[in-house]
């Protein structure tokens, strides 16, 4: 080590106004600052316009200036036309208040080319709290900034593309929904027309047996219509509430029967079936209830009772319809067609159909698999 240089006070370099001269050469910290790859400056706020009093070689390499061109100047020569005025204002404020600051700034080299400068400035004060210097370091972060900009641009482009695609899909969905509504509307109107045609025809028929047969036909079509109406009125077109359907059907049929002495006993758990099972299940329920009403009670004045029970133990739907009427022996041709209908639909649903001759009356049990019940019933 050089004797003469080590005799200098270690902090001599930063107590002088002219740091680029020999002072501090023996100070390892000063040497480090001079030699580091990090671009560094020191300015003196006690002098007019806070001029540069020290710049290391890295700063000169970064900016392309010679030392004599910049010494004694304020740093603002680094700014240019595209430097963000808000960032400059932020910087100015921090310096005026003697605070430290870290800011990304677009700066310009001597040759006019620009670079992104991750600038960090901190104030240096003495023991008495007097502001002596600002210490500034510059890091060229152009690459980082460019990839940031690229990412932002990419993101905007993707977002734009997603927005466009979403709008296209939205439009397609709206078209489809409108189409579905239109079809639904037509199906409903046509079902209503079929009912109307049957009703009108039946008014012209004198033969009671034929008229009854048409009435039964009408009830079956109305059961289909009700399934359709209920499915498309509900929020979820994929599921059908069998219990609600049965409840309304029983009150509808009893009200229309004109036989107030027949009472109903309903024991209905809320049960839904998938939409594809809605029609056969509804037809079976309709058949069972209308059969009981029409054929069980021969004596118009005698009291009677129709019971409907729906439950769903372990993945099965069980529908029970019972009456305290005359039993199955009274079944005529129409009722036997009804039974065939129930058997066939039962096969389609993989259901067990059981007719019990109870005393008095009839008890029918339909047991069909009804998958794992939908959400909410998991507990």
């Amino acid at each position: 080590m050089d004797e003469k240089r080590t005799r200098e006070p270690p902090d001599a370099w930063h107590m002088t106004d002219d740091l680029h001269v020999e002072h501090g050469k023996g100070d390892p910290f000063a040497a480090a600052i001079r030699a580091t790859r990090m671009s560094m400056l020191i300015t003196d706020p006690r002098k007019p316009d806070n001029p540069i009093v020290f710049a290391n070689d890295s700063f000169l390499r970064l900016t392309g200036y010679a030392r004599e061109e910049i010494m004694g100047k304020n740093c603002r020569f680094l700014q240019g036309p595209d430097t963000d005025p808000d960032a400059i204002e932020e910087l100015r404020k921090a310096i005026a208040e003697g605070n430290d600051i870290s800011v990304d700034l677009l700066n310009y080299r001597k040759d006019g080319s620009s670079f992104w400068n991750a600038l960090y400035i901190s104030p240096v004060s003495n023991d008495k709290g007097e502001l002596l210097f600002f210490f500034a370091s510059q890091l060229d972060v152009t690459d980082r900034k460019q990839s940031e900009h690229r990412i932002t641009a990419d993101k905007e482009r993707f977002e734009e593309a997603v927005k466009e695609r979403t709008a296209e899909l939205q439009a397609a969905l709206e078209t489809q929904t409108a189409l579905l509504h239109e079809v639904d509307h037509r199906v409903k109107n046509n079902l209503q027309m079929i009912s109307s045609l049957i009703l009108m025809q039946s008014r012209t028929i004198k033969d009671e047996a034929v008229r009854n047969s048409l009435a039964t036909m009408l009830e079956r079509i109305e059961a289909l219509s009700t399934v359709h109406r209920r499915l498309y009125q509900s929020k979820d077109v994929s599921q059908f509430d069998v219990s609600d359907f049965a409840r309304d059907l029983v009150s509808d049929l009893l009200a229309a029967s004109g036989r107030p002495q027949i009472k109903s006993k309903l024991d209905l758990e809320p049960i839904v079936v998938p939409a594809d099972k809605a029609t056969p299940v509804a037809l079976i329920v309709n058949e069972l209830i209308t059969n009981a009403l029409k054929h069980a009670f021969k004596d118009n004045a005698a009291p009677g009772r129709i019971g409907v029970k729906m439950s769903q133990p372990d993945g099965h739907l069980i529908i029970e319809v019972s009456d305290d009427g005359v039993g199955m022996n009274g079944a005529n041709g129409d009722a036997s067609f009804g039974m065939r209908l129930i058997r066939q639909l039962g096969r389609q649903l993989h259901a067990d159909v059981e007719w019990r001759n109870s005393t008095p009356g009839t008890h029918v049990v339909i047991k069909m698999p009804n998958g794992p019940q939908s959400k909410g019933d998991a507990s």
Binding site: M193, S196, L199, E222, D252
Partner: protein, 149 residues
């Protein structure tokens, strides 16, 4: 029982209007007119004294049933019941209507609705239970069926 209802049918489908007329008359009421368009409906409303008008949303001049209901409300002459396969087109305030019978309705459902409306027009509020196929408007729901409102 009480005086039968005078009913106006506003429906562009001849078949449905015809059948509705039969059902209404079977129930002992009188159909005093059948309009297919909103224009016809307005003229009939202004010229007659219907107790109740059954109004489809889709008429021969487009989805103008709600306009007809508004016209009837302003005239203050009769009550309105919508009859439509597209109840989603009915505004939230039902344009002053009593309610809606959604198509396809059942014969029994319509008969129950007629009985209910007969009571509601002649001796409000109705004593029968609200029929399954019939939905009351929010305004009438508070007056006619406060427990379910």
């Amino acid at each position: 029982m009480t005086e039968p209802l005078k009913v106006l049918i506003v429906e562009d489908q001849a078949l449905l209007a015809m059948e509705l007329e039969s059902l209404i008359e079977d129930a002992g009421h009188n159909v005093i007119g059948w309009a297919m368009s909103s224009m016809e409906a307005r003229t009939m409303v202004d010229a007659s004294e219907a107790d109740i008008a059954f109004v489809d949303i889709h008429l021969s001049d487009g989805p103008t049933g709600v306009d007809v209901a508004e016209h009837i409300r302003r005239s203050g002459r009769s009550m309105v019941v919508f009859m439509t396969a597209n109840p989603k087109r009915i505004p939230d305030n039902f344009a002053g209507a009593v309610g809606v019978i959604s198509k396809p309705y059942t014969m029994n459902g319509l008969m129950s609705a007629l009985r209910y409306l007969h009571e509601g027009v002649r001796r409000p509020p109705p004593v029968s239970a609200l029929p399954a196929g019939f939905t009351l408007s929010p305004a009438f729901s508070t007056v006619w069926a406060p427990s379910t409102a």
